[in-house]
Amino acid sequence: MNTINVIDVIVEYFSQQFMTHLLWAMLALVVVFIIGVIKGPSIWDRLLSMSMVSLKVIVVIVVLAYISDTAYLLDLAIIYALFGFISEIFIALFVADRAKEDSAREGRK
């Protein structure tokens, strides 16, 4: 009798409140990686943490779309994935080019 109650509680939790708790956990992880963006000593650490923040935002949008059961929010996630990754690639290439120009101007030691 007691074990049946425990199973019922677990099934109830996983079917009702679990996705809301997952949403809060993902938002907390976004905050953690934003602390990584602020704290990182070089620009490459900041860029790495920023790519992880964009990935967490995609997961947050997917969980929101699951909770409200609206499939068109996933279009937003797809667009966010494409634009986030493309912008990170071009920021990385831009900073690398600028660093190469600076080292060429100063001369090799």
Binding site: F14, M52, E88, A96
Partner: protein
């Protein structure tokens, strides 16, 4: 049947959350850039894909799950590409391979070039540009 799908999908989602929390721990544990990239990129890609797979299991075989499969394919293709390009750009722009915080402590031995033989002595050597 829906209860079984809920529980299986939730367990898969919890596995993904554990992966992502380990990735966040690795970001704050390692102090140099390249180990941080090594830990963070793979664990984070795997965790996000696992969470989205769990949501697919919970929702069943629907149009919603087809869109989620498209997002999984995009993450699988694009996120390792971004990690590779950030690491390659950092290496080519001269980011040091050795931990830069150890530079201030030990400045006696200036002959280290970052070869394999010298990696065990890294704590006693100066951080130079290892590619030269």
């Amino acid at each position: 049947m829906a209860d079984i799908a809920n529980i299986v999908g939730s367990v898969i989602i919890i596995i993904g959350v554990v992966f992502i929390v380990l990735g966040a721990f690795g970001i704050f544990k390692f102090k140099s850039f390249y180990p941080r990239m090594l830990v963070g990129s793979k664990v984070d890609t795997m965790g996000s894909m696992t969470i989205i797979f769990g949501i697919m299991v919970r929702h069943g075989f629907t149009f919603f799950s087809a869109k989620l499969m498209l997002i999984v394919i995009l993450i699988l293709v694009l996120n390792p590409l971004v990690s590779h390009i950030i690491t390659k750009a950092a290496y080519e722009s001269g980011h040091p391979l050795v931990d830069y915080r150890k530079n201030a402590k030990n400045t006696e031995n200036k002959e280290n070039t970052g070869n394999i033989e010298n990696i065990e002595n890294i704590e006693n050597t100066e951080n130079t540009d290892v590619r030269e």
